[in-house]
Symmetry: C2
Subunit: 270 residues, 2 copies
């Protein structure tokens, strides 16, 4: 079946490497019969800040405004602002979401964080019961595709910026996996701005090659929700015990005070 | 000497717990003789997205606009937009910066990420030579003070959200320590929204108590810049060797494939 792909794209310039990476995805996936939709956040002038204006009409508690509570209610009542509703519709349609951006300050640019804060509304994207492996988007895939300013060696367990797997954990576990997405390995373009033109070209070529088989890729591994108790959300004693003799922790965050499983946020099957 | 404190505050409502935490800091630190400055980002309507409008006049390469390069140049030439320049002046004056916010999606709200992306300009806040322990702000302190939606147990090495130390690494190492700041232990208010009124009150009381001695606190530990070689920015062999027999890695990110040093992003002296 033809898949629907949504690209959330956050770069200011159509002449950028990020634009080229986004265009490559559109081209290769379209050629495979996929339907592509691109949210070009800067071109859209996408609002980044989470404010009461995201709710049509009166809020329920203006004195002590809580964005998450108010937007949950607004979503239930169809009162979210049109720009949010439009992005939510695109997301509902999508089988795969690709986030294409330059890494800013060990994270996503503010405009993309704004998309995450505003579009992934409580109720629409997650609930107390429906999250992580039981998450609302468990039948969808998502992935990060980004450029760095630093070289790969600097983002290692002995490099000055530290292990990239650690930096990716809050994004891939805390946002993507939290909503249930099957998280594909990130596509990391290491420091294209300081690379030679031919190296940039070969980075794009290997991305195009990967895109050919992207939809069949195995996702990254996370821990099923039922491995945790339902009260304190701690790993169940039997699961913990089963891993007591293992060399590595379960994931980067749920590391059980053991060494982190190598590359677990960067490669599938780790 | 009386200290200057800058609070970067990101909550929409003056009735919120975050507002109360910010107000407590203003009150206690003012009583100690500090000069307080607050950037109330939502009230200011602070622009979050990094765009060409942040530069006065023409950019040098509109075809292939690179925000970091263009703003570095604009900073050198005094062409950054007034809202950025104003925040930079506040930062230059400050001895201590407190970021007060509700954690959104394992990170800072978009409006605060926008402050980070736009105000911490290349040249002003860091350079290739001046970063980490040699960073431009090495004579200043900074800290995160935030509320969570989840309970503390959920953010542990056996909890469903994983170790909070991992989630804090990109923020505290990748942003604060990167600019040289002495990073004070974070003030974490665990799930105040789901706590009883008296528990919220006691959380604020313990924050007030901490604020009394805040300026004398020992910062978190990071690795000095000269422990890395100047080419690939890898840990020097002698430093690596010295730690070969140690039980734990150096930091959360520079973990040397060993277990993470416990609480190292949450408590000083770990």
């Amino acid at each position: 079946m033809a898949k629907k792909v949504l690209i959330i794209y956050a770069h200011q310039s159509s002449g950028s490497f990020n634009a080229a990476a986004k265009n490559a995805a559109v081209e290769v996936l379209t050629a495979q019969g996929c339907t592509l939709e691109v949210s070009d956040l800067y071109a859209m002038g996408f609002k980044a800040s989470a404010t009461a204006e995201d709710i049509k009409g009166e809020v329920t508690n203006a004195e002590n405004f809580c964005y998450m509570k108010e937007t949950k209610l607004a979503w239930e009542q169809g009162k979210l602002s049109d720009d949010i509703t439009k992005e939510q519709s695109k997301l509902t349609e999508a089988d795969l979401v690709i986030f294409q951006f330059p890494m800013y300050w060990f994270g996503v640019p503010a405009i993309l964080k704004g998309w995450i804060d505003r579009v992934l509304t409580n109720g629409f994207a997650f609930s107390q019961e429906k999250r992580y492996s039981q998450g609302i988007f468990k039948d969808k895939m998502a992935m990060l595709s980004f450029t760095t300013g630093s070289l790969e060696s600097m983002f290692s367990p002995t490099g000055i910026n530290g292990d990239m797997n650690v930096t990716l954990w809050p994004l891939q576990n805390g946002i993507l996996h939290y909503c249930g997405f099957q998280v594909l390995a990130p596509q990391i373009f290491w420091a294209p701005a300081s690379a030679a033109a031919e190296d940039r070209k070969s980075m794009l070529e290997s991305w195009r090659t990967r895109l050919q088989g992207l939809l069949e890729e195995k996702p990254l591994s996370f821990i099923p929700l039922d491995c945790f108790d339902e009260k304190a959300f701690q790993l169940k004693p039997d699961v913990h015990k089963k891993h007591a003799s293992k060399e590595f922790g379960l994931t980067v965050g749920i590391h059980l005070n053991k060494p982190l499983p190598p590359h677990s946020q960067m490669k599938a099957g780790c």
